[in-house]
Structure formats: C-alpha cells, structure tokens
C-alpha cells in the first residue's frame, strides 16, 4: 500500500464524498482462542470521489467488495485504513465551519445524527431489509422517528407524500400493510421511500434491482433516476450488471478483488475500455439482439477470494496481457490515462 500511494483524483476537497486509500480487511478463521493469521482484502486501497448530483456505478463480479465499499460509505463498517471525507449540508467541518470537509472517523454524537439524515442506503434484498412485524408506515417513518423529525401527524403526511412519490398510490392503502403483503417491486419502492424520506444528499444503492423480476426492474430503475435528478441526490449504484449501470450512472468504476481497476464516464468506458478485466467483463455481457455477435472474453481461470493476495497486480493470474514486469512489480497505480479515465494497469 505504501509502495504505490494512489494519485487521488483532483479536487478531492471539493467532492461531496471523497474516498482515498480506503481499505477494509476481514479476518479469516478467527475464533475465541485463535488470532486470525490471514485476511480477506475485501476493499483494498480504493479512491474516488463523488460530487453533488453525481452518480457513480460500482461494477464487478460477486465477492469483489462492492457491498463492503457501500457499507463503509454509510458507516455501517469501519475502515481498516484510508480516509473518507464528506462535505454535507449541516455537517460542520473539522475547524467548526459550516459545510467544510469532515472525516468519517470524526463523525460521532450529534454529527452522526446529521450524517444519518444526509447519507442513506438502499439494500440489496427487498425481502429481508424490512422488519416483517412493522407496517410500511413504521418502516418509512423510522428515520424520521428516531431522529425526532416532526410530530406523529407530520410524519403520517410526510410518509404519505413520499409513498405517492415512489408510485405507491393511494398511500392510504399501503400505510398500514406489512411487508409480506407487498410484491418484491413494491417493497423495493418502500425501501427507496425510506431512504429518501429524510431528503438525503447521498444514497448508496446496493443492487436494488438484482432480486427483482424484469417487470419491476425497469420501473425501479426509472424511478430512482427521476427521483435522483428531481431531488439532486448523488448516489453510488452498486451492481454486477454493466447494462444496468449504463442506464443508471454518469460514471462507472470497475472493481476486481477489492481494487478499482478502471473508472471513467459511462459511455467512454463502454466505447473505450482500457483495462483487460473491463474488456473481458464487457465482452461477456449478453446483448438482447440476435444479430449481434460478441467475441469471447479473453480471460483465463476462475475468480478467487482475495485472501492474503500476493503483492502484485490482482488480475495477474487471469490476465491475457500479463508480462514479467506485472509479475515482479506491485499492483499498478491508479492513473489518469485520458481525461477523466482512470486505469490501474502497466500495459495500457
């Protein structure tokens, strides 16, 4: 890590959320009597930043650390090392001045309350992310209630309003239902409503459509986009589906085993993928057009778990372009190869 300190994308201080060198490891096989000797490097030295109203897609195969990044950003997990700084409305900076950048580790107590109002998360699984014993009203009003926003009556109005916004109308028929009385698509709408009811500035959406059927998926995607544009919300959209990311995000970051290997504007990334992993990923996505012929992705071997990975390019074992140089040197630095197009690879 110390060998190649990443070049943080410029103007880091300006961003709504700036991440630099973010790392999170999970111990393997730790027990009451044994200290862990090896670690899963779930997120390893990740840097990016997000501006207000921006949308970034985080794409990668299962287990590459997407959800972990999301949870770190909403402070559900603490980083092993690295910095996340926020610049959120109402959050006072280190020097006490309004709206100055503030480090994640410094957000405690009263600041944490404000933080929870400004930063929200939509979870992957609409079936498990709602308490089955609580009504839709309780679920959506929870952030309002625990943060003491409004009276009970105000909250009923606010919840009804947001239900209409996410297309669950008339709200009266939904307010006092339980989650099991809704379809998957309706539940995911409730999850969105709950994240948006506090009017956050930044939302992490963790594969909000991966468990939904085709019919509900498009609806949710369109809804998220309209709302984000309408309310000026910045979001990190976690997904394993590049086609979905294309529709949801301005920029896409491709992750491989805990590392971001490429980051660029969406259309630029699709048209001009530089990293060999991005290329493989792109050429593996099926296209809903029978006349389109894809080349087989050039990638060898299978995905492994990032348990104590060797100090070289994470993609080395599977890379079609790998050289001796790649073998003998640490993981390549994340560099801007074209304006706004960041890649971590020696060969491009």
């Amino acid at each position: 890590m110390e060998a190649n300190q990443p070049h943080t994308p410029p103007a880091a201080a300006e961003g709504l959320v700036s991440v630099s060198g973010l790392t999170r490891q999970f111990p393997v096989g730790r027990s009451l009597f044994r200290r862990a000797t090896s670690f899963i490097h779930a997120v390893d030295d990740v840097s990016f930043q997000l501006n207000a109203g921006d949308s970034l897609g985080l794409v990668g195969e299962s287990g590459c650390g997407k959800t972990t990044v999301g949870k770190l950003l909403v402070k559900l997990l603490e980083p092993t090392s690295g910095r996340i700084t926020y610049r959120l409305p109402g959050l006072d900076g280190a020097a006490g001045q309004e709206n100055a950048p503030l480090e994640a580790s410094a957000i405690i107590g009263r600041q944490l309350r404000t933080f929870r109002r400004q930063v929200q998360m939509i979870f992957q699984d609409p079936y498990e992310s709602m308490n089955p014993r609580r009504t839709i009203y309780d679920t959506i009003a929870e952030p309002l209630a625990v943060q003491g926003m409004g009276t009970v009556l105000d909250r009923v109005d606010m919840v009804s309003e947001i239900l209409m916004l996410v297309g669950l109308t008339p709200p009266a028929t939904f307010l006092f239902r339980h989650p099991h009385e809704l379809s998957g698509g309706q539940r995911q709408r409730v999850a969105i409503a709950r994240a948006l009811v506090v009017e956050p500035a930044f939302v992490v959406a963790d594969e909000p459509t991966s468990m939904l059927d085709v019919s509900s998926r498009t609806g949710i995607m369109n809804l998220m986009q309209q709302l984000a544009h309408g309310l000026g919300i910045a979001y990190l959209y976690v997904t394993h589906d590049l086609a979905v990311a294309r529709y949801m995000c301005h920029r896409i970051a491709v992750m491989y085993l805990g590392k971001i290997v490429e980051l660029a504007e969406t259309e630029e990334l699709l048209r001009n993928p530089l990293h060999p992993y991005t290329r493989a990923l792109l050429s593996a996505v099926p296209v809903p057009n029978p006349e389109y012929r894809r080349e087989p992705p050039s990638i060898v071997g299978d995905l492994t778990a990032p348990i104590d990975p060797p100090e070289r390019c994470r993609f080395f074992d599977r890379c079609p372009l790998a050289t001796h140089y790649c073998r003998d040197n640490p993981h390549p630095a994340f560099e801007e190869k074209a304006p706004g197009h960041w890649v971590a690879c020696y060969e491009v």
Binding site: Q124, S129, T135, V152, A172, H178
Partner: protein, 332 residues
C-alpha cells in the same frame, strides 16, 4: 433471480383493512387498533385451524371454569365446615377416606376433606403459579437473550456461562435444596422457577434466535436510519423474539406446574393445598399401595396435572404454527 413468495390472491381473508389517513391522533389510533385486531384475527384463525390448539384451549377453558367454580360453590351450596379444602371434615361419612358419593362426587381424603373441593381450590393456585413463573421467565430470558446477542463479547460470555451453570444444576434437586433452606410459598416458588428458567435454557434459545435476527439486513437498515442500540434492541430484536418467547412461556407453565407437583409430593412446600399435596396426603397415608381401591385420592389430582401440563404444551405447539412463518406458509 429469487422468485417472490406466493402472495395471497387479492380479496382473500388476509387482505389488510384499507385505512383512511385522517388528520387526527384519534384516527391514527383507530387505524392501528384495527390493524392489530386484523393481525390478531389472522393469527387466531390459524390457531383455531390446528386441532391440538383447539383441544388445548378447551382443556385450559375447563380448568379455568373449575378455578372460578370453587368460590361460587363455597358461597352457594357448599358450607365451609364440611367443604373447606384444608379444614373441612365430612361428618356425614363414617369411614375416611370415603368413596365417591352424591354429596362428595370425588369422595373424601384420609382426613375427611372433600376431594372435589380440594381439586377445584388448587386449580386457581396452579394457574397463578404457572403464569407468574412464565411471565418472569419470559421477561428475563427475552431481555437477556436480546442483550447478549446484540452486544456479544463479555456480556454474552457472562450470561451464557451463567445459563450453562443453571442448566448443569439439576433443576428439581436445586428446588428441593432451596425449599429445604427457605419456606417457599406459591409466589416465591413461581419466582424461583421463573428466574431459573429465565437465566437458564430459555435464555440460550432466545439468544440464538436473537442472533439470527441481529444479522438480518433490516437491523442494518435501522442503523442507517439512525437508530441507536436501545432502539434496535427494543423495536427490532425483542418484538421479533416475542413469538418464540410466547411459545416458551407456554412450556414454562408446564414445567412450573410439574415442579410444584413434585415438590408438594415430597412435602417440601409451604402451600395450603395443591394437586401435589393431595397426592402427598394419599401417599403418606399409605393409600397409594392399595392398587386402584382408593383411586379417587390419586386419579383426579394426577389427571389434572397431566391434562393441564399437556394442554399448555400443546397450546405452545399450536402457537408455534401461528408465529412461525415457515410453518404458516404451508397454509397458503
């Protein structure tokens, strides 16, 4: 892609009531009450569908009527001198114990007291004992389970080792020692059983359930919403534990009644009268040896213990079906 579970068709009995949102607190209250009633009714109908549930309710109902019947009978047709369960004496009978007769439907005991009166009088104390013990157990076990699952670490280690310790001690013998040391009346007995149950095995079971709740995504969602520890434990974990708690409450009633019977049989409790004492009286008089000749001294009390214990146990099993969505889904 995960196939969504089958939802009941629209218009089925489980459709929730449409709740009008008004602008007054009263409206909100009414809406919530209707909702609570609705889910209660849904649960009730599942409970009533299981035969053992109905059976257990009927048995418990009969015993409840028996408990209520005693004071009424004493006020109306039974005079205290003859029928008091402890101090009464059946002067109308020559031999004691006397066989069932018109005046004494279940006969009298060796001390000339009416067996039916004893039986009915004891029913009430059994209910009080069972329910007190169960409430204490559940209150303790739910809190201990939720707290040690949520905090983990030393808190967890402490409560779990304590539970292991209590499990390792054989329950009845511990009660025997305690009752020898202290004069245990009904209330203290209930308390002791409740505490032993609450910090013992029930806590472990509820903790393992709480652990599975703790890792649910909705707990993380609550944290993102800004909920603190207290909020998460009392709003999310405990309400989801309650169904299981309720189940163990039923089972605790069973074990409390059973423990009372054993201790009374051994003559260790400071009670006026109970089903256990009735059998104890028969035993000390040597009437248990005589085969079925003096059946009325043993069978009514013995059968009552068995029936009421099993009724609560079966009720618990039926409740299991109501509160366990995995079992419930089969009904769809």
């Amino acid at each position: 892609m995960i196939t969504p579970p089958n939802f009941p068709p629209p218009g089925s009995a489980s459709d929730p009531p449409v709740v009008e949102v008004g602008h007054s607190r009263l409206r909100l209250l009414i809406a919530r009450t209707r909702l609570a009633l609705h889910s209660f009714r849904a649960g009730w109908s599942i409970f009533m569908e299981s035969r053992i549930g109905v059976l257990s309710l009927v048995i418990i109902g009969v015993f409840a009527i028996m408990a209520v019947a005693h004071p009424i009978l004493m006020l109306t047709i039974w005079d205290a001198e003859t029928y008091d369960p402890v101090t009464g004496y059946a002067f109308d009978q020559v031999d004691q114990p006397s066989a069932p007769s018109w005046r004494h439907p279940l006969g009298t005991d060796p001390l000339g007291r009416d067996v039916l009166s004893q039986l009915l009088w004891s029913t009430r104390s059994e209910f009080v004992l069972g329910i007190t013990a169960a409430l204490v157990t559940v209150a303790i076990a739910t809190t201990v389970g939720a707290v040690s699952a949520y905090y983990g670490g030393l808190v967890d280690v402490f409560f779990m080792r304590l539970a292991d310790l209590i499990i390792a001690l054989p329950g009845i013998s511990l009660l025997i020692v305690l009752s020898a040391l202290f004069k245990l009346n009904l209330f203290y007995l209930a308390l002791v059983i409740g505490i032993l149950g609450g910090f013992g095995g029930t806590a472990i079971i509820l903790k393992s359930q709480a652990l599975s709740i703790k890792v649910k995504p909705y707990i993380e969602a609550a944290r993102v919403a800004g909920g603190g520890h207290f909020h998460i434990i009392f709003v999310h974990i405990i309400p989801n534990l309650l169904p299981l708690s309720l189940l163990y409450m039923m089972f605790t009633v069973t074990s409390a009644i059973f423990a009372e019977a054993v201790l009374s049989f051994l003559g260790l409790l400071d009670l006026r009268m109970s089903w256990g004492i009735m059998i104890h009286t028969a035993n000390t008089g040597g009437y248990l040896m005589g085969g079925t000749r003096y059946w009325w001294l043993v069978v009514p009390a013995g059968a009552s213990i068995t029936l009421l214990c099993s009724a609560f146990y079966l009720g618990g099993r039926a409740l299991d079906e109501v509160v366990n969505p995995r079992l419930r889904r089969r009904h769809d």
